[in-house]
Symmetry: C2
Subunit: 260 residues, 2 copies
């Protein structure tokens, strides 16, 4: 059976009208389906008002205990439950989850190397049986980017990686289609030209684009996740604009198709 | 089959050491079991830092849109997920839920009468089938005091009432024991004497204590919920100190036993 896993980025969440349209489109995608969401700027805004400084290193948030409380509130509470309530309103029976809920995504606190990211988790295990039991009941799981360290703590976790890990885990029982949605039309061959979408990206091309600098920064971990998903058994991976999610799922003709 | 529904008040949540001991004791209670938690002062503290004024009328929070976001963050995110992670750590497989998740508790925004409570919900329906499916998988549902209005919005909901509604709904398939835990030893015959615990409370006594003013304020809605639970089919209702939860569940000899 086919399963669609959609990841939605923080930039979509930050724009209420854009997000609402995305959720309407998401409701038109046939079940079974899963949504994984990123964080967005709300966490930074809430942290600032609470007097907690946001420190980013290479686009990743440093998560001390105070910041962990903020992301648990904002990602696991405000963002996750707002998405769940809206998805319910558009007709799907959504359930919001963090990795701690039903022990569904277990992770390990990242070891301190050059940078101490703090309470940040690297995923070790996805409980695909529990997720499948929800899907079989017609329920749409909506994941916040938070996982569980098995020792009583939440861990802040990269949503792209989480979507990949969930997609891979579900290949045990499903033919999985993974779609990364964000605010660009796809992977660009020229970062300054929003229309320079690469329609099909193979590993050799990826290496060339990286070498030339055309693909850089945040696109690199996203694409590493995309290729890893394919290597580990996901049937199809697409990176596209959030407003093209239906096209990407239905025909696979939107955005950038990642192939091996 | 027996089911234990425990409600834990905000005063317990506000004290980390007290809360941890309670969760350890809760982990010793045999499954199936459900935890319903209140809010605590964290929402007020977070609201204050965010520049949102807290207005309470007769012990109830007035919930405008800004305050709804705060309680969704704090109750649905920070408090709920912290409890879930700790319960996981003590060995039970907990899942955190608001009423929007899997549409498990549907409510209606309270009509404006003398007081406009704002985004506050009165419960209309509890999806006992979904809750039972979790219990059958050995999962412990942990409910935040938030419900869903079926129109895309969360609603702030009284946790005592929510515990009662869940307990009543589960009587379809279970013999339900409802335990309200808080920071007093039980219902007191003299509010100024913490040891004046009424061991058994019948409706007629309740009316007398109310008439004399010995039972007043926040105890009245709590006891109204307790009596309604019994009327609607819950087998046993106890109001006790959080540190006596195991005694209350095991032998029914702690705190105040509510009887018809």
């Amino acid at each position: 059976m086919k399963l669609t896993v959609v990841k939605i980025g923080g930039n979509v969440i930050d724009n209420p009208a854009f997000c609402e349209q995305f959720l309407k489109d998401f409701s038109d995608i046939p079940a079974p389906k899963i949504l994984v969401h990123g964080g967005g700027k709300v966490a930074t805004q809430v942290a600032e008002k609470l007097g907690i400084e946001t420190v980013m290193v290479e686009g990743r948030r440093i998560t001390d205990k105070a910041m962990l409380d903020v992301v648990t509130m904002v990602y696991g509470g405000l963002v996750n439950k707002s998405l769940v309530a809206q998805i319910q309103h558009f007709g799907d029976n959504a359930i919001g989850l963090t990795g701690a809920d039903a022990g569904v995504i277990l992770s390990k606190k990242r070891l301190v190397k050059a940078i101490d990211y703090g309470f940040v988790g690297d995923i070790e295990q996805v409980n695909s049986t529990f997720i499948a039991s929800l899907l079989e009941q017609g329920i749409v799981p909506v994941f916040a980017p938070l996982t569980y360290d098995k020792e009583g703590n939440m861990l802040n976790t990269n949503a792209d990686t989480q979507a990949q890990a969930i997609a891979v885990a579900m290949t045990e029982t499903y033919e999985v289609n993974l779609v990364y949605c964000f605010e660009k039309k796809g992977v660009l061959s020229n970062p300054d030209d929003d229309d320079s979408v690469i329609s099909v990206l193979k590993p050799a091309d990826y290496e060339s684009y990286k070498a030339s600098g055309a693909i850089n920064k945040g696109m690199i971990p996203k694409l590493d996740n995309a290729f890893k998903a394919l290597t580990d058994g996901v049937a199809q991976v697409t990176i596209c604009h959030a407003r093209e999610v239906k096209l990407a799922v239905k025909d696979g003709i939107a955005g950038t198709k990642i192939i091996q």
